[in-house]
């Protein structure tokens, strides 16, 4: 066990000097591990190499921290990201210098776009070699500057503990995000005092948490007087743990709620106030309600272009209230009448305390009509499985209780539409960067964070192949992730755009010829592989898969390739110009 090697002399002095904390002299690697334990890190995703060998040496005897050996650093970052989204704690990554660091870039950028708390430790060549093009040197601080919330190069081992504590504080507070700490090899080998000081204070960093009271009153007033109010909830509701406040307010005031892709699960979809998702592949009723409403309360959402459609057609008649912890999000894309900087959780409950129930009878009549006449459709299968039905079936089998992790593409949008999300931290997806290859490693990370919840990775035959090698990790650690491949033998979403906007010229989007036999692929890693080509087989393998608890299961669902994802707002169109289905 790498216990702090407390010097006996210092131990004796423990209670004497009030200003000198109980310190021990440790090397950098030990300081790192001690500080990680101190900030309650239980799992790190990592891959060794020369520059970080002293840390790996310390990990050899370490039992309190679970180190997961991933098979590629990109996947390590995605796994840490999945762990963070599922648990709310920061995900932790440890990789070597040079290629180890550069391989994490996609994972860091993915986390940055979705404001996911993550701390990445990279090895670096010794300080006296930095800048010499030394073996495996890369300026990772420079490379990751635009995709991290903050990053550090440790140049003095006596700052190491402080830097690590700051890194976790910055990553998890305010608008969360990834923080990188670059550790030159001499820094982790040389020694310094480890103080165990818990307090972190960065004078230049003080996120605003309470909403301005005048603005809160204005917002409450506006909602109380609204005829057609709507809440548009984003990922901030989940990151800011504001789901209870949101649900309480929406129910008490009887206001409809639509969520973004990142906000799914932030409001239970089984509640009558739920309109599901809005935006490019949002529901008809959510998009119409957004267009027609007179007061729009945006909570922890950033008016992403996939949500707004054409900006000048976005919710043209509404007065807008925008709650966000990040002031730079407010007014960035859409002007708002009532900006409120603060923690979504605090602000929502403050508004709820002051608002009175608006009269929304007519509004609800209109919405109910939209819901009745324009529901999401699940077509009947004629042989091959219909993708929408596949998602619906997974939702039924898991009772809406699973953590669903997706890749990027048609399956992602269908999963968002047809799975019924009733719990926060249950839909993990790369919403901002749209990273293919995210799904499976993130699902694995979620499994480490939440071993008691069923975890389903819904992926495409394209996306799964980007990180399928992580089957090795999942088998090694007995991670029972259920991988549901929506196998349409093509890059479905690309194919859809080519069909609709490029005259059916399917340029480099058909995967049929090179696709592996996914069942054999799974088996070669020691995982379970199943295949289903019709509804009956689908039911059968889903039932079998859910019972497997000691290994990953790969399910190859052969689906109808020509199916397109609707409704769809063509890019450049306004939300109410959505296309509901094929002509």
């Amino acid at each position: 066990m790498a216990q702090p090697k407390t010097e006996p002399a210092e131990h004796k002095n423990k209670n004497q000097a009030t200003n000198t904390p109980d310190t021990a002299v440790l090397n950098g690697a030990e300081i790192l591990i001690n500080t990680l334990k101190d900030v309650n890190v239980d799992t790190i995703f990592g891959y060794p190499g020369g520059a970080v060998l002293p840390i790996y040496d310390s990990l050899f005897d370490e039992h309190d921290i679970n180190h997961v050996l991933i098979r590629h650093e990109q996947a390590g970052a995605h796994a840490a990201d999945g762990y963070a989204r599922a648990t709310g704690k920061a995900g932790v990554v440890l990789v070597t210098s040079g290629p180890g660091g550069t391989n994490t870039v996609t994972g860091i950028a993915t986390a940055a776009m979705d404001s996911i708390p993550m701390v990445v430790f990279t090895g670096q060549v010794p300080t006296d070699m930095i800048g010499n093009d030394a073996f495996q040197e890369a300026d990772i601080v420079g490379i990751t500057r635009p995709i991290t919330k903050h990053n550090y190069l440790v140049k003095d081992v006596s700052n190491l503990e402080q830097v690590i504590r700051e890194a976790f504080h910055v990553a998890t507070s305010g608008r969360p995000g990834p923080v990188l700490v670059d550790l030159p090899k001499d820094m982790i080998k040389s020694e310094a005092h480890y103080s165990g000081l818990k307090k972190v204070s960065i004078p230049s960093y003080k996120p605003t948490r309470e909403g301005h009271s005048t603005q809160v009153s204005k917002a409450a007033q506006m909602l109380s007087n609204a005829k057609k109010p709507l809440i548009y909830a984003g990922g901030g509701v989940i990151l800011g743990e504001a789901w209870e406040e949101l649900t309480a307010m929406a129910e008490r005031l009887n206001i409809p709620v639509t969520t973004t892709l990142m906000g799914l699960g932030g409001f239970p979809e089984s509640k009558p106030q739920s309109l599901g998702m809005l935006g490019m592949h949002g529901t008809y009723y959510a998009n119409m309600a957004t267009t027609e409403c007179d007061v729009l309360l945006a909570a922890g959402a950033r008016f992403d272009d996939r949500v707004t459609g054409r900006l000048d057609g976005f919710s043209p008649h509404s007065k807008k209230i925008h709650i966000d912890i990040d002031p730079s999000n407010i007014g960035k894309n859409v002007p708002v009448e009532v900006p409120i900087v603060g923690d979504v959780k605090n602000v929502l409950s403050a508004i709820d305390q002051q608002a009175s129930k608006p009269d929304t009878t007519d509004w609800w009549n209109t919405i109910e009509d939209w819901k009745k006449n324009h529901p999401l459709k699940v077509p009947k299968s004629e042989g091959l499985i219909k993708p929408q039905r596949m998602i619906e079936r997974i939702s039924e089998v898991t009772n809406g209780e699973a953590i669903v992790v997706t890749d990027v593409g048609q399956h992602q949008m269908w999963a968002a539409q047809h799975y019924t999300f009733n719990h926060p931290r249950s839909f993990l997806s790369s919403g901002g960067l749209g990273t293919m290859g995210y799904g499976f490693p993130a699902a694995m990370g979620a499994a480490f964070g939440c071993p008691d919840r069923p975890i389903v990775c819904i992926t495409g035959d394209g996306g799964f192949q980007m990180t399928a090698y992580e089957l090795a990790t999942a088998v090694e650690y007995e991670v029972p992730v259920k991988i549901a491949i929506m196998n349409n033998e093509c890059l479905g979403m690309v194919r859809q755009w080519q069909e609709l906007f490029y005259n059916k010229r399917y340029s480099h989007s058909i995967l049929k010829k090179g696709n592996p036999d996914f069942v054999k692929l799974a088996e070669s890693y020691g995982a379970v592989g199943y295949r289903a080509s019709n509804d009956e087989e689908m039911d059968d393998i889903l039932e079998k898969a859910m019972k497997i608890n000691d290994r990953p299961v790969v399910m190859d669902f052969r689906v109808e390739a020509r199916e397109n994802c609707y409704p769809m707002v063509p890019s450049g169109a306004a939300l109410n110009e959505m296309v509901e289905g094929p002509e």
Partner: protein, 175 residues
């Protein structure tokens, strides 16, 4: 906008002078520049130097854009962890200076005329050779531009200008 003499700024409506207090480290400077290049904002000039406390630096940035862009720039800068304060001096009374070194061709017949012009601008000759004069001038951007305009006909060889440095004014009268 106020137009006054002697280096108190003269502003066109979309030019802004931002004074940014940061921790003294190059990562902070790189992040600030990264915000401008990554988000497509303009930097007209930037200067970086230490503040009263040696662990802080003051960065003066002159930029331009409409209200919404300037608001975004200010907010984005504020988001950087190392940034302590961002002040848009444009809305305050402030003093602003730039330094320029100008090397100009000076023949025997034009030399005294150039020196006279320099005197009017309170500029200093800091290097002299049979064919050239190097002149140091400080002032706000307009004054420097005007001085350069005056010297241009003589044949300017090289110019080296700092960006603006600026401080909020305390005294309400004119200096």
């Amino acid at each position: 906008m106020t137009v006054s003499k002697n280096g108190i700024s003269s502003q066109t409506s979309d030019r802004h002078t931002l004074s940014v207090l940061v921790s003294y480290n190059l990562n902070a400077l790189s992040r600030i520049i990264g915000i401008f290049s990554g988000k497509g904002f303009h930097i007209d000039s930037i200067s970086f130097g230490s503040e009263k406390e040696s662990d802080l630096a003051r960065i003066t940035i002159t930029t331009h854009g409409d209200e919404q862009i300037i608001e975004q720039i200010t907010k984005q800068l504020h988001k950087i962890i190392d940034v302590v304060t961002v002040t848009d001096l444009t809305y305050e009374r402030f003093v602003e200076r730039e330094l320029a070194l100008i090397k100009v061709t000076a023949t025997r017949s034009s030399r005294s005329e150039i020196m006279q012009i320099a005197q009017v601008f309170r500029a200093k000759v800091i290097d002299i050779s049979p064919g050239k004069l190097s002149i140091e001038v400080t002032g706000n951007r307009d004054k420097i531009n005007a001085f350069i305009g005056m010297l241009d006909p003589f044949g300017i060889d090289e110019i080296s200008r700092t960006g603006s440095v600026a401080l909020k004014r305390e005294f309400e009268g004119s200096v």
